[in-house]
Symmetry: C2
Subunit: 330 residues, 2 copies
């Protein structure tokens, strides 16, 4: 499927290039790794874009930094607020710290410890909520009213999508021969930005979403032709439990070529390979792209045989070591 | 101490540049990482040369590749042999595989499992020995006689030292402002190569060795003015148990500025920081440089106050996850 990228998606190549100019001196340009062992295992040439090495330990800093730097001085002075179980929270706290403004972070009580530690490390002001989306949003609204801070949504925000899209600008510069990029999907901010940038530069490139079986709302949404949400999610990939928003859904609907569903056990095996072969700490949500390319769902699909040079976004590395080890032993 | 690097050391800038030309298309040019969090913690600007991402998971591939590619065709056809508890073994097996020649690897029975797995992954032919140096050497001699293969010593070999020295060529190109490099010390192959190259390029640069308390033979050797060996070693850093050789000792004696001794608990804490903050799997021997720069021995020494831009060689990443986790919980 080749679709011309139009203005209608809330971000475009121009807003993504503006984001790059805005954040470039603040972010890490992350390296791309390759491994003969993993190439042999997959039968493909894999190129791992290591966003786990991004500041804050995940790609989220790109979008958060772009959003915070986009605020005018008056808005900025009142600070920023968000609700997030982890990586966006830490990223926003760090971006706010760099600008010297307060960050109010609503965190559900079931967030991974290491992600909460990151928020604290960057000086974010934590407000706890119940682990439901309703409680998260209510608590954030309350903080918003009390402080006048600007809401920075984790993904359904053009500034966030544009920031995440800078990954493709870097990646296609580092590995111009890519014919496919596999991207974790949750709320869709990452995949929207990556897709809009990549398909603008190379309309023939394929974008595949990787999604856990226990939170497969994006695959269901693609099949139904409308946003599907789930009554509950159940996956080790704590960063992939969100649902698509009205800015990210159109990109997923129109431009994402397919969704690969993987089991949690495949995600855990991919984490192990990242650790043992790449020597990289990757969280479950971050390892799902490798899980996808090694899955039977991918290998056995004839539509995917002819693609050789595959970019995989290792989106984050914030994983409690105890969880990792306990997962491996199961 | 500024000492002119002379020809007498078994390797020099010229042999190191030759090694670089020989191995450059086979090795990974490893990235240099920095972290604001670790800079804050240390009070220095730290630059981590990530040799854990080198092929085989450690710097050892540089030297092994140089040695294997230096053999003439007749020598090469009979293969190579070594005895090693781990990273050199895997590196030599991989280098031999690339050249299509056999590698006979004598491994002591107490070698870490993940390192043995690497040897197998690269097709090395494993011959087990007892965990004593005598048994290792005797077994290697026997293999040597039977096969006519060329012995490639893990460190006391000019080809190995020259290969490891290519790290400094890369590192000083990546971070020209370095005033200090901290290097793990064991048999001295790594630090000899790094020192000879770095001091040839910048005679004012300081080289500090990092050594575990339970295998502090290099510090004792520097103090005594001659090679000291120990009746036994006791450290979590399984890669740092060897003693200096007649090619590496003169470099350590003349050109290495000092040795920083660290405790095992400091090494384990450094591994944890590498994992949690850098998102990098680093083995105990590889994390010792970070342990050194954070140690009281380093912080409280007035001689080391004025140096700011410090290169740290994360020498390898081959660590059994179970060991890592068990260490953290102690």
């Amino acid at each position: 499927m080749e679709v011309k990228v139009e203005k209608k998606y809330g971000a475009d190549l121009s807003s993504i290039k503006e984001a790059q100019a805005r954040i470039n001196s603040f972010i890490h340009k992350t390296p791309v790794f390759s491994s003969d062992s993993l190439n042999d295992l997959s039968g493909k040439n894999l190129f791992f874009k290591c966003e786990c090495f991004q500041k804050g330990g995940a790609f989220k800093f790109r979008g958060a930094c772009n959003a915070v730097l986009s605020l005018d001085d008056d808005q900025a002075s009142k600070g920023v607020v968000t609700h997030s179980s982890g990586n966006h929270a830490a990223a926003l706290a760090l971006a706010a710290k760099l600008r010297g403004i307060p960050a109010y972070i609503v965190i559900p009580s079931n967030a991974p410890k290491c992600k909460v530690e990151n928020v604290k490390r960057y000086g974010g002001q934590i407000i706890w909520s119940e682990p439901t989306m309703q409680s998260r949003e209510d608590t954030a609204s309350k903080v918003l009213q009390e402080t006048g801070a600007a809401l920075v949504h984790p993904y359904n925000d053009g500034r966030i999508i544009s920031g995440q899209g800078t990954i493709s600008l870097e990646l296609l510069d580092q590995v111009p021969q890519l014919d496919t990029i596999i991207v974790p999907i949750s709320g869709g901010g990452l995949i929207s930005g990556v897709t809009l940038a990549a398909k603008s530069i190379n309309p023939a490139i394929r974008i595949l979403a990787a999604e856990p079986m226990g939170a497969n709302d994006a695959a269901q949404s693609k099949a139904a032709g409308r946003i599907i949400t789930l009554p509950e999610t159940n996956t080790v990939a704590d960063g992939l439990r969100a649902f698509l928003g009205d800015l990210t859904w159109p990109v997923v609907r129109d431009l994402v070529d397919d969704v690969i569903i993987v089991e949690d056990k495949e995600i855990i095996e991919a984490m192990r390979l990242c650790y043992e072969i790449l020597k990289v700490a990757v969280e479950p949500s971050g390892a799902i792209g490798l899980a996808a390319v090694l899955s039977d769902n991918f290998r056995k699909n004839p539509a995917w045989q002819n693609y050789k040079n595959i970019g995989i976004i290792l989106s984050g590395g914030n994983v409690d070591l105890g969880l990792l080890w306990d997962s491996f032993r199961k």
